[in-house]
């Protein structure tokens, strides 16, 4: 999968931090798009080659704003998020944040 992603990324002229295989259970978060994950609303933002900001909320109270580097794990509202990869580029549609991240979610 990593090979495919890397080849795809190179073909699209974008950069990615995916040197290790992205786990099958990793969740992709498009930058700036609120996404339902483990009963929470998670938004990846300000994505860099090796880091991102995760905004995690339950929909009713102020969200937790968490800086996380690739390989690092952060926790919010009882759920842990490990950032396993980021991708810059890959979506050439105009006026859209052109980035994504992959996180592994642990609800323990």
């Amino acid at each position: 999968m990593a090979v495919a992603l890397t080849v795809g990324a190179l073909a699209m002229g974008c950069t990615t931090t995916e040197e290790e295989p992205v786990p099958d259970d990793a969740v992709q978060l498009r930058a700036n798009i609120p996404t339902d994950v483990a009963g929470l609303i998670v938004v990846a933002a300000n994505v860099e080659e090796d880091s991102a900001v995760l905004n995690v909320g339950d929909g009713t109270s102020p969200a937790s704003v968490l800086d996380v580097a690739v390989g690092e794990t952060v926790e919010a509202l009882g759920v842990s998020f490990t950032l396993v990869a980021t991708e810059l580029g890959g979506d050439d549609r105009p006026d859209l944040p052109d980035a994504a991240v992959w996180v592994v979610v642990d609800e323990d």
């Binding site: 798009i33 300000n46 909320g57 009713t60 810059l88 859209l96 944040p97």
Partner: protein
């Protein structure tokens, strides 16, 4: 007086006369052969695709429609576009209270879809349908059905645009229950053929997207859920598609709306305690520009949005948008894109609804989002944009764009206090890394790159501007910053006077 030159031309014309007759004969033979081949192909399933492609291509030459069932840019639905300066025309809503007749008791089983004279007709309704649609007159239904079937017969030359006009006119004179009864009496094959002829008709036939939208508006604003569900099986133009939200690879993500979404109706009221900018919360779609525009206008003047939505007796909503300053009416059903039973795109908090028993959703942000998707063609087409465009679509008033710093804090305060709306574009991806407003030190007030915001307050005494993230104020409270930080942190300030 005939000159030499003129005579020469007459002579040449005369010489060519015999050749022209021969040429005309050849053309007639070729046309007859082509028509015969196409007609033969149309009666066989095998040749249908080829025939449709050929006829569509020929028709598009004749009509200059330029489409073979493809997507056009929508301009105006529901009638001729009003001239500039005309009064806002009334939206094409369903029957009013004055001509309303009692509908079926909501506790009873729905009436049979075929209507007896004076009966109610229709099938299952949307939850908020008021059931005030007039009763059906079977005689009117039968006459209209004859007209529709005549129009769709077409004869040797097939169904032309004029025939489709006749079918639409027959539908337009019916009330909602009569439309239900008429559609119920048509077979699936008839309905499919009707849609096919609209989208990809015979020579010089077919309709543009605008023309098709006029018919869909009549149906969506009047017919029952059962009727609309049946028609939606044959066209993607009644319910905007969400299957490409997120781009090409969205279907690979099992929980994405594109993959897991279904249309469904949730308990709802259109508005709970008035339209309020805090009702806005962006969902799993890249339309921050639209949600910020909704928030900005709701903040500037909630009545603009309240006045833009009309509730129809069949439970649908007709939304007034603007296209280049011209009103455009788009009717949407109350069904929204759900994942695991919850709204997945625009969201709203849950409230105790007006029946004081049910907990449900405030639907207006979802209605406005769906109306834009239907106007643009589908949800994916609404991904990516800027708030100046969104503000124009909502108000019909041109927006102006300004570089930060071009507007003083007094200018900004004057716009907001004067009832104007201000949208913002934050720094693009890769920009603003060194700005404190985008850094970790900003904490929960950190700005998001590549995002849209709107201005909610300006304090000239304190020298501050307050901006709002359309992800929802419950999770992302407004951020107040100095005017200096404001000027440094945004790429564009997008101003709309709302009421110039």
């Amino acid at each position: 007086m005939t000159t030499l030159g003129t005579r020469a031309r007459v002579h040449e014309t005369s010489d060519r006369g015999a050749g022209s007759v021969e040429y005309l004969g050849v053309v007639i033979v070729v046309v007859l052969v082509v028509a015969g081949v196409i007609a033969a192909a149309r009666v066989s399933d095998v040749g249908t695709t080829l025939a449709e492609r050929v006829t569509c291509a020929v028709r598009s030459i004749g009509t200059q429609a330029g489409d073979c069932g493809g997507e056009d840019v929508p301009t105006y639905y529901g009638g001729d576009a009003p001239a500039a300066g005309d009064e806002d025309p009334a939206p094409p809503v369903a029957g009013t209270d004055e001509d309303a007749a009692p509908g079926p008791d909501r506790g009873e089983a729905p009436a049979a879809p075929t209507a007896d004279a004076g009966g109610t007709g229709g099938g299952p309704d949307f939850a908020n349908a008021s059931d005030t649609r007039p009763a059906a007159d079977q005689e009117r239904v039968d006459e209209a059905l004859d007209d529709v079937r005549d129009a769709l017969d077409g004869g040797f030359w097939g169904v032309r645009a004029g025939d489709l006009d006749d079918a639409r006119d027959a539908i337009a004179q019916l009330n909602g229950r009569e439309i239900d009864a008429l559609v119920a009496e048509m077979s699936d094959d008839e309905l499919e053929r009707w849609v096919d002829q609209m989208e990809d008709g015979w020579v010089f036939g077919g309709w543009s997207r605008e023309e098709r939208r006029e018919l869909w508006e009549i149906l969506a604003g009047n017919a029952s859920k059962e009727t609309l569900d049946r028609l939606a099986a044959f066209t993607g133009e009644l319910q905007p598609s969400f299957s490409t939200i997120g781009g090409d690879d969205a279907r690979d993500k099992k929980d994405s709306p594109a993959n897991a979404g279904v249309y469904g109706e949730v308990p709802h009221d259109l508005v709970v305690q008035g339209v309020d900018p805090d009702d806005i919360a962006q969902g799993s779609i890249g339309n921050c520009w639209w949600m910020a525009s909704l928030g900005a206008v709701a903040h500037a003047d909630p009545s603009v949005i309240e006045g833009a939505i009309t509730s129809n007796a069949n439970g649908s909503y007709t939304v007034r948008l603007y296209d280049d300053g011209v009103p455009v009416y788009v009717t949407v059903t109350p069904e929204m894109v759900l994942v695991d039973g919850k709204p997945s795109l625009a969201r709203s908090p849950q409230y105790l609804l007006s029946d004081n028993q049910t907990t449900g959703y405030e639907l207006w942000p979802m209605v406005m989002e769906k109306a834009l998707a239907l106007h643009y063609g589908d949800y994916e087409k609404t991904e990516g944009g800027t708030a100046d465009v969104g503000l124009e679509i909502l108000t019909g008033v041109p927006s102006t764009n300004h570089a930060p710093g071009d507007l003083s804090i007094e200018d900004l305060a004057g716009i907001i206090q004067g009832g104007g709306a201000v949208g913002l574009s934050s720094m693009a991806q890769g920009q603003g890394k060194d700005l404190p407003t985008y850094g970790q030190q900003a904490g929960a007030d950190r700005l998001i790159r590549g995002h849209a915001y709107y201005v909610s307050a300006v304090d000239t005494q304190k020298g501050t501007v307050t901006v709002v993230n359309p992800w929802g104020t419950a999770m992302y409270p407004p951020i107040t910053m100095t005017i200096e930080d404001f000027d440094a942190s945004f790429r564009q300030v997008r101003v709309n006077e709302v009421h110039p």
